[in-house]
């Protein structure tokens, strides 16, 4: 390439040089990158603290040049609450899977959102428990096969998938809540915008912010990375509509 070329896309500063342990094609990596870019662009990575979940992304701290706490399974919002309350000058975020946030951590996320804790949650919904080998999550799609729903999720017995963004946006406390996806570049660009806005609102000390990101788990879905992106579009998006669910700037209803 000639010398007047400039770099338009590169690894964000906030990311470390380590390669990840994620499976090939797992979109956790894309979401990591967007978080790092947001911290970079807002210039806050030096005063940020992430809270890692238990789930495939438990080792997220290995991939960031940012301080991190490792939370017990599901409790990241409680840790983030504790940290942010004593250090309101810092930028705090949790990064949580769907098992972590929507199953065991339900109480903690609802209450953190309801108290209006001023941290940011990146909620990676891949409709399954990735780390433990593909068990059913509260977000698993109807009829989706998992190791604990070998005949497919039976909604008569275990109910329908929980839509966290919809649920949390019923709370009256102001918040920013959006659902995005990363299965195509266009979706990914929108996702990045939402994530950045979530952090931006925290920088402005406005409100609790959460971005739910539809993500893939090729390994436990048992299909290729490409097929996984297709499945997000064909099966997940219709049930989990993308969009803005709550915004502090929006007129209250």
């Amino acid at each position: 390439m000639s010398s007047n070329l400039i770099t338009t896309f590169k690894r964000p500063e906030s990311m470390s040089d380590n390669t990840t342990h994620y499976c090939p094609g797992c979109t956790h990596g894309i979401i990591h990158r967007m978080v790092a870019e947001s911290l970079d662009e807002l210039g806050v990575s030096g005063r940020s603290v992430g809270v890692a979940p238990v789930g495939c992304s438990v080792l997220i701290y290995n991939y960031f040049n940012v301080d991190f706490i490792e939370a017990p399974h599901g409790r990241a919002p409680a840790l983030a609450t504790g940290f942010k309350r004593v250090r309101p000058d810092m930028i705090v975020f949790t990064y949580q899977g769907d098992g972590d946030l929507a199953s065991i951590g339900m109480g903690e996320i609802v209450h953190a959102a309801n108290r209006g804790e001023k941290f940011t949650t990146i909620f990676v919904n891949n409709a399954i428990y990735g780390m433990t080998g593909g068990q059913m999550a509260p977000t698993t799609m109807p009829n989706q096969k998992t190791t604990t729903s070998p005949g497919g999720r039976d909604t008569d017995k275990v109910g329908f998938p929980i839509r966290m963004s919809e649920m949390l946006s019923t709370l009256k406390t102001p918040s920013y809540i959006a659902r995005v996806a990363v299965h195509t570049p266009l979706h990914a660009i929108a996702a990045k915008k939402a994530i950045k806005r979530a952090f931006q609102l925290q920088v402005e000390n406005r409100c609790f912010s959460m971005v739910e990101v539809l993500s893939t788990c090729p390994t436990n879905w048992g299909i290729t990375p490409e097929a996984s992106t297709k499945w997000v579009e064909s099966d997940m998006v219709p049930y989990y509509p993308l969009g803005l669910y709550s915004d502090p700037d929006r007129e209250e209803t």
């Binding site: 070329l5 338009t8 690894r11 390669t19 090939p24 094609g25 894309i30 990914a188 660009i189 490409e226």
Partner: protein
């Protein structure tokens, strides 16, 4: 001429970049990298339009994109 640089040791061969490249110039190598993956590589460098789609989709942030002049932002 815009172009991409793929750090083959980050690449896990997921092929997501290959799928999204609008000019179909990415392909998988026949060799494996240190980790044992067939990695992505640029087939016809001259056709790259620097659109970044491959980089945006790469879960392993293995791709760096370079372009002429001011930063070319496609989607913002």
């Amino acid at each position: 001429m815009p172009g991409v640089k793929i750090d083959i040791n980050y690449c896990k061969g997921c092929e997501l970049c290959v799928q999204v490249c609008p000019t179909h110039i990415l392909e998988m190598s026949k060799e494996i990298n240190l980790k044992g993956y067939f990695y992505a590589r640029l087939n016809e460098p001259t056709h790259c339009i620097g659109c970044q789609l491959c980089a945006i989709m790469c879960p392993d942030v293995a791709i760096k994109v370079q372009s002429h002049g001011t930063r070319f932002v496609l989607f913002e």
